[in-house]
Each structure stands twice: as structure tokens, then as C-alpha cells.
Amino acid sequence: MSGRATRWLTPYLFLLPAAVVLGTFVLYPMVRVIGYSFSRSTPFLAPEGVGLANYEAILGSGRFWNAALNSAAYLLVTPIIIVLSLSAAMVIESGIRGRQWLRLMLFVPVITPTVVAALAWRLLFGEEDGLINQALGAIGIDPIAWLTQRPWTLVTAMTVTVWKGFGFYMMVFVAALLSVPKELKEAAVLDGAGRFGVFRLVVLPAVWPSIVLVFVVSSIAALKVFDELFVTVKGVPLEHQTVVPLIYEEAFGRGNFGMASAMGVILFLLILGFSFMNLKLSLSRQKPADQARAGARADAGGTH
């Protein structure tokens, strides 16, 4: 009897540590953040319900829309990351010599702590003697205020995000490229496709699911960005910032927990949009594959 009870309990015992951590620090806060968002709450006051007041204040304030607009602009990192990481993956997959070293080198930014990356680029983007302005000066372009002026501050932070991110997504594309059957490429060549044709007709469709994945994941990461703005362009006014730095300032600078939570919920809804897009795309991707498999099965059945 006790043996049966332990057998029944076993899976739950294995799950216990994870359940305690995720329950206390993820699921419970998920519920609480909604409650906070409908209340006035500070570090020193117990939450007091205010209905939709926080949401009304946020959606009616220029501050939030400005940050949201900056976040929308920040999404431009996504196409740049896709092009850069796919190109890097294709160079690696082409089988050039030293590609293992190449892979390792391109992974250095991924390992670099964001604060370090931010300072490295702060140095390069230095307004007076930074390498980038010096190089621009050499070709006759006036120095740019990378660290203090809009929209350059956003461009500077985005550069750090792209730099730190592309090596990781490159690994996703390397795996995808390695799974493209050689026979398909050879067949395309036999059918008279050029290099670009092979890329467009064989490689691109094969890595398309990975492109969608990277698109969604890096978009969500871009909406969550904080470190890059906080350190690279340290000290710029709030108008230069995106949504998460605004949440941080609202919660821990001004102590408006209710407002910050309502902003968090809005951020979640934006992120949810991308997650659903991912789900929908991966489902629609599944279908043609299933149909093809069903078709192949039907063909096989026909020959018997």
C-alpha cells in the first residue's frame, strides 16, 4: 500500500522544486501584476483599488506613447539580425577553412556581459575621439552625437543589441542549413538553377521556419531591452528610452508600483501578439508538411 502511494507521489516529488520556484516567482507574480495594475500602490502603501485609472493615465500620457514608439523603432534590429546571422551561418556552412574558429569568434559577443558590450561601444561611439566619429571625419562627415542626441542614442543602443545577438541566432541558422538535404541542392543544379536559384528555391524554403523563429524571438528580446539603453547611453533623458527602462523608472525611481505594473501588462500584451504570430505560423507550417507526408503515403499505397 505504501509502495503504491510512493509510486503515485513520485512524479510530483520530482516536480516539487521547480513548482515551488516557478509558482512563487513566476506564476504568483503573473497574477499579482494584474491586481497591482488596477491599484494605486507604492513601496510604503498597501495597494488601493483605482479601477482603470492607471491604464487611462498611461494611454493618455505622451511619455508612454513616446517610449512605445521608441520600442517600435527598436524592432528594426530584427531584420538586421536576421540578415547578419544568416549570412554568417552561410559563410560557416560553405566549408571555408578555419570555420570552427570563425564560429567561436562570432560567439564572443554572445558571451560578453551586456554592460561590457555597452561600454565597448560607448568607447567606439565616443562623440569627440571615438573611433567611429574619427572614421567619419576621415571621409568628411561631421561628428555625430551618438550618445546624447535623438535618434542617434537609439541607433547606438540598437547597435549593441545587434552585436550581442547575431552570434546566437547564427547558431540556429547553422543547424538549419546543415539539415538541408544535399540531394535537393544537387537536383536543383541539375535542373539548371544557378547559385542564386539554389538559394531561393532550396535553401530559403528550408530555413524559412528558422527565420520565422528568429524573427519572433529577437522581436520579443527587442521589446524587453533594458541594459543597452541603461548603460550605453547612460544619463540620457527618458524621452530617449523604450518601454522597459520606463517601467524601471516608474517603479523604482518614482515608486509608482501600480503604474509600472499596468505598463508591464501592456508590454505583455505586445509580446503576446508576437507569441501568437509564432504559434500561428508554426501551425500553418505544419500543415503543408503533413499534407506532403499524407500525399507520399497515398502514393506508396498506390504502388502496391
Partner: protein, 281 residues
């Protein structure tokens, strides 16, 4: 076989590879060179005839030493090592524990539990940061390293990764151990964990890198300077040494070196030999 690549295409590939390496390694290298450049001298000096600039690399320990002593980085370094290592170990163990029943046992609540775990993946900590903070304060963890370790001791992604890997382990291994009378915990330890070692190593490495780099959460829950982790401490130095930037660049280099070394040591254990042969030769 595909036709051989023409020379122009090969040259193009090496050119792009070279550019990518320059972009990837250049900024960190420039940072390091600047950090050890003696005060009062520039890396790029105008050449005498005014025709352009020349690179002149110098070396001094001064800024590194000042960052370490005046910047009081010994404490943060120790804290970062402790937090990152604890986080990586816990992330692997807790995720692998949870993944085992999800991959290999049938029990009533399995689908509900798995769905709940996946749901936590959709809500990033930036969204719930306020209630996470009040929860940590309520539990008396504020301004302690525990607040950096326990709340992030496991991730849904880690559980998912381990579950996928465990589902691919042959059933026979498990059955053989079970017939020999091994308990579920023994099977987990002696059969499951060794079978998914590359996945565990990958999860370990990524948890380590993530914890080492983390800024927002430590910024929120830490207050006492001696309890800072490296990213928070380095960020502080940017304000403190505003007048001598090379000191905080040196601090940044000190924050970079340990994780680079750790990754070099770890990389050959990573999944699918992500970087096979790169360092070993």
C-alpha cells in the same frame, strides 16, 4: 557533387568572414587596448605631418589596478562567481528533475503541469518585475544574494530542453535499471543524467552566461555596495570615475575575462559539439 566554387566566390567568402570577425572581436579588443593604454597617451595619434593617424599601442597595469582597488571589485567578483555558479548548477538540477516525470512517467496532471510550465515562458520578468520585487521583499530576501539565486533557479526553457532530450533516451536503458531494482531517483541520476550530458552542459553554459551578464534584476534587489555583482558594480563605476574613463573600461575588461575563460573551458562539452575542434586544435 556540386560544382567547385570559383575563386571570386571563395575570396568573397573569406572577405565576409574577415569582416564578421573584425566586427565580433574588434570592440572588445579595442576596449582592452584602451584599458591598458598609459594615461595621457592615445591609441590613435596624429602623425607629425598631419596626414593622418597612426596606431601606437602602450601597456600599463595602472587602470586595471585602480579599477580593482579603488573600484573595490574583489567583492563583486566573488559575488558574481558565487551567484552564477549556483544559478547554473541549480538550473541544471531543478530542470532535469522536473523534466524526468514530464518525459517518462504517466500521471494524471501531466498535461496541466506541462502547460503551466510553458505558460511561464510567455511572461518575461520585465513584465512582473514589481510583484517579483515585493515577493522577494516579503520573503526577507531583499539585498541578499539569495534573491539573485532562488527566484531564477529554474526556467521553463530549461525544463523544456531537458524533457526533449530525455524523450530521446532509449526505453531499454531505463527498463534494465528498473528490473535491477533501481529507484526512480537512482535511474534519474545513473541513467537519465549521463544520457543527456550535452544538453545539461549547454543549459549549464547558458545559465552561467545569463547570470554573469544580468543587470536589471540585481539592480532592483541589491542595495549594499559590497553585495553587488559585477555588472551592477561596473555600471556604478561609470558614474564614479566619470573623469577617468579608462578605469571603468578596465573594470569592464575584468568583468569579461572570467566568463570568456569559463566558456572556453566549457565549449567542448556543448551540445552537438557546437564548437568542436576550435580550441583543442
Amino acid at each position: 557533387m556540386l560544382e567547385r566554387r570559383p575563386i571570386w566566390l571563395n575570396a568573397w567568402l573569406y572577405l565576409i568572414a574577415g569582416l564578421l570577425v573584425a566586427v565580433a572581436v574588434g570592440p572588445a579588443l579595442w576596449l582592452a587596448l584602451t584599458a591598458v593604454q598609459p594615461a595621457g597617451t592615445d591609441l590613435l595619434r596624429s602623425s607629425g605631418d598631419g596626414s593622418g593617424k597612426t596606431l601606437s599601442i602602450g601597456f600599463t597595469w595602472d587602470h586595471i589596478a585602480r579599477a580593482w582597488t579603488d573600484g573595490k571589485l574583489a567583492g563583486p567578483m566573488l559575488n558574481s562567481v558565487l551567484v552564477s555558479f549556483a544559478r547554473a548548477v541549480l538550473n541544471v538540477l531543478v530542470a532535469a528533475l522536473a523534466a524526468y516525470p514530464l518525459a517518462r512517467m504517466s500521471f494524471a496532471a501531466r498535461n496541466v503541469v506541462f502547460t503551466l510550465i510553458l505558460a511561464t515562458m510567455m511572461v518575461p520578468e520585465q513584465v512582473t518585475i514589481v510583484p517579483m520585487f515585493t515577493t522577494v521583499v516579503g520573503l526577507g530576501m531583499y539585498d541578499t544574494l539569495v534573491a539573485l539565486i532562488v527566484p531564477l533557479a529554474v526556467s521553463a526553457f530549461g525544463i523544456f530542453l531537458c524533457r526533449q532530450a530525455m524523450m530521446a533516451v532509449p526505453k531499454e536503458l531505463e527498463e534494465a535499471a528498473s528490473i535491477d531494482g533501481a529507484s526512480p531517483l537512482a535511474i534519474w541520476w545513473h541513467v537519465m543524467l549521463p544520457s543527456i550530458r550535452p544538453t545539461l552542459a549547454t543549459l549549464f553554459a547558458f545559465s552561467l552566461i545569463g547570470a554573469w551578464s544580468e543587470l536589471l534584476w540585481p539592480l532592483v534587489v541589491l542595495q549594499t555596495k559590497s553585495g553587488f555583482t559585477l555588472p551592477v558594480a561596473v555600471n556604478e563605476l561609470v558614474g564614479q570615475f566619470a573623469a577617468s574613463a579608462r578605469v571603468y573600461y578596465a573594470a569592464a575588461v575584468l568583468a569579461l575575462v572570467p566568463i570568456l575563460v569559463a566558456f572556453m573551458l566549457l565549449q567542448r562539452f556543448l551540445k552537438g559539439g557546437m564548437f568542436d575542434g576550435a580550441v583543442k586544435g
